[in-house]
């Protein structure tokens, strides 16, 4: 059974904390518990929010008080194993041209790589979606190699365009909406990660895998036009997930 702590976050949420760092094994434990709770649907649980190292559980204490819900979770964790079912692998087009990736040469300077190497390394990784947060549909993906352990900008940009792809602290994100941002922007994806409207939805979910395919400005423009028409279909394929150590 994994080590964990149950911490109260008020009387309608609790945190099951597996550790304090960003770690794939912790993430596997978080996602396994989220999956288990989805299957078991314990009374009183309203929703769960996976993060890098903990699972937040929002619940109604009038149905399941803290004491009984935390006991139930401890019991479930005794036989909750990391998921071995297939994960969804998304291949997302990204244009890394400097017009979109306006921090690319800065990132190159900070990492000691050439801009071409930054693109090559960034686009050769299969990323793990640890969690979604900050903006609707915004996925935190890792891990980049150690040279990408970049501090955020001292002065965040007041706005970056929707679809901007950025890096910081060995993580990469596509920002689904225009937003202020302290991350380093190295490209842009035409794929909407967040859809508005009555059937609003997020493309990515925690536990998904993502890779990036470099595209030219011309391809970006064509894909972007299709996205605006709602005709850009990106479908994932299932891949086997590595067992957590």
């Amino acid at each position: 059974m994994p080590q964990f702590k149950v911490l109260p976050a008020g009387d309608t949420a609790l945190v099951v904390e597996f550790g304090e760092t960003i770690d794939r094994n912790l993430s596997a434990q978080v996602l396994a518990l989220a999956h288990r709770l989805k299957q078991e649907q314990p009374d009183g649980v309203i929703e769960t929010v996976p993060t890098f190292r903990s699972l937040m559980i929002h619940y109604d204490p009038l149905i399941a008080p803290f004491a009984s819900l935390s006991a139930r979770i401890a019991a479930l964790l005794k036989d909750t194993r990391p998921l071995l079912q297939p994960a969804r692998l998304w291949s997302l087009p990204v244009c890394y041209e400097e017009e979109f990736g306006f921090d690319l040469s800065d990132v190159a300077a900070r990492t000691g790589l050439s801009p071409a190497d930054v693109i090559e390394r960034h686009s050769s990784i299969t990323y793990h979606v640890y969690m979604l947060g900050f903006l609707p549909g915004q996925a935190y993906m890792g891990d980049l190699p150690a040279e990408f352990d970049l501090r955020r900008r001292d002065t965040p940009r007041t706005r970056i365009p929707a679809g901007s792809l950025a890096v910081a602290a060995r993580m990469t994100c596509i920002f689904p909406l225009e937003t202020p941002c302290g991350w380093h922007v190295i490209g842009r994806s035409p794929v909407p990660l967040w859809r508005h409207g009555p059937a609003a939805s997020a493309l990515l979910a925690p536990g998904d895998k993502v890779s990036f395919t470099p595209v030219s400005m011309r391809e970006y423009a064509a894909l972007s036009a299709r996205a605006i028409d709602g005709a850009l279909e990106i479908t994932p394929r299932d891949i086997a997930v590595e067992a957590a150590a």
């Binding site: 008020g10 009387d11 008080p65 909406l177």
Partner: protein, 369 residues
């Protein structure tokens, strides 16, 4: 063609600013006020996708306004912050009720007469009436419910407006001049008007909290300074978070934690040591340590606190928090039983005149539960 029902009139579209052919019953916005949004009890089930719950800052007042006009308790209403809107009635008649912070409520009829109404009493408006809601004197929010509700299609299970995500409510934004807020009913019913007495909407001085989840990121001295200190609601507070001025809180080992989940009422302490209480439009996760969390029973009162209000925080046990929540839920369940008919002698004829202009006409589009 304008469509109603499943898709809602404005879903994902630009709003018609001045459309002479508008034929659905609505409240037309002449002035939006400071920040008037459509809110209900919020959106559950999508936080794992980064979507906050949103919903009314003061759900007690929201439910009171709904009870007064016979709506389901969680029906969508207008949340009015600090300065109210001016609305023109484009419907045969409509019954409304306001609940929350006190503000002048003035009605100018088409014939030039003016009258005033009060909080916590329903009243009827007729076509052409202009309803002007002034400044909230002592609270942050006030709710306006319309009988039968507003005809707003839910997004992800809720009509609540989430401005940062640009969805929910009317076009995902605050009301502005020229907007038309569709009403589900074309005429007020004959149920009569009601009042609600004895609802405690006072501003609390002490807000109850449960310590943690990251109390251990602060020294015992800092934690006790937080509980003994007096804070003031600071400018810059909004539906995402209430910023606090008062004793600064020092971190033991830095202000950065690996992001984890946050709750409505989480009190996070960023690097500058000034605490922020996270409210309905908060982000779903956060990277600052949380010293304490406001208990759910005190969130409605917290939501009422305007900029400049003083408050302090008192730690309580989980048992106290859970029984306070139970008590609040009992109160809310009893709201419908507590509204009483407004039957001052002499009023009846006026009321019938106001509300019963056309008998037998009910809803323009759908039955009202």
């Amino acid at each position: 063609m304008r469509t109603h029902g499943m898709s809602g009139p404005y879903m994902g579209q630009e709003l018609p600013i001045d459309d002479a052919n508008v034929s659905f019953p609505c409240l037309r916005v002449l002035a939006g006020g400071l920040l008037t949004t459509i809110q209900d009890l919020g959106r559950a089930g999508y936080q794992h996708l980064g979507i906050p719950p949103s919903g009314a800052l003061d759900p007690v007042s929201l439910q009171a306004a709904n009870a007064l006009v016979g709506n389901p308790p969680g029906a969508a209403a207008l949340e009015i912050a600090y300065l109210g809107p001016t609305l023109a009635v484009e419907a045969g008649s409509v019954r409304v009720a306001l609940a929350g912070g006190a503000a002048p409520i003035e009605i100018s009829a088409a014939d030039g007469t003016t009258r005033h109404e009060e909080n916590l009493r329903s009243f009827c408006l007729r076509r052409g009436d202009r309803l002007r809601i002034g400044s909230l004197a002592q609270a942050a929010v006030l709710y306006l419910a319309a009988e039968g509700g507003f005809d707003i299609s839910p997004v992800l299970g809720s009509a609540s407006t989430y401005i940062r995500g640009a969805f929910g409510g009317l076009g995902g934004r605050a009301l502005g001049a020229g907007d038309r807020v569709p009403l589900a009913r074309a005429f007020a019913s004959q149920r009569g008007d009601y009042r609600l007495d004895g609802l405690d909407l006072s501003l609390p001085k002490r807000i109850r909290v449960i310590a943690g989840p990251q109390c251990d990121y602060f020294s015992e001295g800092t934690v006790s300074r937080f509980f003994s200190g007096e804070y003031r609601v600071a400018p810059g507070s909004d539906r995402m978070g209430m910023r606090l001025e008062g004793p600064r809180l020092e971190h033991l080992r830095g202000a950065d934690i690996t992001s984890d989940g946050v709750a409505t009422g989480s009190i996070q302490v960023p690097g500058d040591g000034a605490p922020i209480v996270l409210l309905a439009d908060r982000q779903t996760t956060g990277g600052y340590p949380k010293i304490a969390t406001v208990i759910s029973a005190d969130l409605p009162a917290l939501g009422r606190l305007p900029i400049g209000a003083k408050l302090s925080f008192a730690p309580v046990t989980m048992e106290v928090a859970e029984s306070a929540r139970r008590a609040l839920y009992e109160d809310m369940r009893n709201l419908f039983a507590r509204v009483v008919p407004l039957d001052k002698p002499g009023d009846v004829v006026d009321r019938l005149f106001d509300c019963n202009l056309i008998s037998g006409v009910t809803d323009a589009r759908r039955p009202v539960a």
